[in-house]
Symmetry: C2
DNA sequence: CAGGATCCACACGGATACTG
DNA sequence: CAGTATCCGTGTGGATCCTG
């Protein structure tokens, strides 16, 4: 437990948010939701419109930030699996809340 | 209640996520958290590093998407207040979950 | 005070081709 | 299969100046 002023809290949030920035990161995470394990080609197929470059790049960043883990099976043809780390799993409630939010849209939009 | 296949669910998520994309949107929302009401200049001061252009632009988009509402007081000098709409308020649990997630970082990062 | 308008740079992201 | 490498366009966002 470190000291926690409103100021450091705000900058902390911004740093955390940066980890999730990027057009595809949250979408990727949604596909790893719930302990799901996906291969590179799975994600490529599941996420329509993403390029290999972007998929690889965003996965690298998520990995570097400790949110997803990468497992390489040394075989031919190569097989690589992605899953959430413990910390990544901890994001699930937030992702879930986002889904819930999306579902509330129609019923709340009129209420101004 | 519309028909809901996994496919439309996925694209629905993506559409929702697009509403939150943009370097400053979530940061702005954090400052309107909890029913807080902020003036343009307040946000400008609270969010260090943001330019007027970006602040205005992202607020316009959030407004157009029905997430924040804008209240203009016809007076000189002008006074404009921003707050979350009902739907925007519904995002709070998700934002809260994100904060919680950030706080778990240190304790979970080692667990692979 | 709350922005609109304008100019500009770079990073982000797309398409394609190639590789271990 | 799971990526890199390269080239390239565009959008995002920054800085500055101006206005009701």
């Amino acid at each position: 437990m470190t000291t926690y002023t409103p100021d450091t809290a705000a900058s902390g949030v911004e740093n955390i948010l940066k980890l999730l920035e990027g057009r595809w990161k949250l979408i990727i995470l949604f596909h790893l939701f719930d302990g799901k394990v996906q291969r590179f080609s799975d994600l490529e197929r599941l996420i329509s419109g993403i390029s290999q470059k972007m998929l690889a790049q965003q996965l690298r960043q998520l990995e570097a930030d400790g949110i997803v883990s990468r497992t390489v099976y040394p075989q031919v043809p190569p097989k690589v699996e992605y899953r959430l780390t413990a910390w990544g799993q901890a994001l699930c409630p937030a992702l879930d809340a986002l889904l819930k939010w999306a579902e509330q849209r129609d019923s709340l939009l009129g209420c101004s």
